[in-house]
Symmetry: C2
Subunit: 119 residues, 2 copies
């Protein structure tokens, strides 16, 4: 992955609304959700939702699929994986201490010194 694409993806993720969108879409897999369903679920205006969905799609973090008068949005697992991989491998040079939290996510905080889940 090239740096400019990684920056685009990081910028897309660096926003509370868009992070919520990613998390909301995650459980729905490749089928995804229609824009209207997302808007109702997160209580957002149509234009605001469209603005943020565009940013995520442009960054290859989600994909869209038209069906009749609906547009379904779903997580782009490859794109999301690429960004995380870029951070971990290209950016951090696969540093063992940095990798630790990802490879062993179930270690308690007392063991790793890191927090990997909300309290």
């Amino acid at each position: 992955m090239q740096k400019s694409k990684a920056l685009e993806a990081l910028s897309a993720l660096a926003n509370p609304t868009r992070l919520d969108l990613v998390r909301a879409l995650m459980p729905f897999g490749t089928k995804g959700l229609s824009a209207g369903e997302i808007a109702r679920m997160l209580d957002m205006s149509a234009s605001r939702l469209s603005f943020h969905l565009s940013a995520l799609e442009q960054a290859s973090l989600i994909s869209s699929r038209k069906a009749a008068r609906h547009v379904f949005y779903a997580i782009d697992t490859q794109g999301l994986g690429s960004v995380i991989g870029y951070l971990l491998n290209d950016c951090c040079g696969s540093h063992p201490e940095i990798s630790a939290c990802c490879l062993h996510p179930n270690l308690s905080e007392s063991q790793t010194g890191l927090t990997t889940a909300e309290p």
Copy 2:
């Protein structure tokens, strides 16, 4: 890691200058580099450098240590690991396809469909 802290870190990383800073500091480990050395290495003005270093430190992605009239900056491996872990585990629910690129960074693109290194 809490969402607000993750957003702060993602915002810090979503900038070309700061991404360069992280990559530049990575090889120097815990010893780090002084602000002056970084400024020379990346050819930046002192005030511009200070602005970006502050953002990275505030986001717990780097740490600083005063020594005489120098200030040394080094990667905060725990902080950086926490952000990546947040994305991978909290945000993506440890989705197997998303984890693939991080757990097996040396698979070729033809095997994974992902790119993990610059050409």
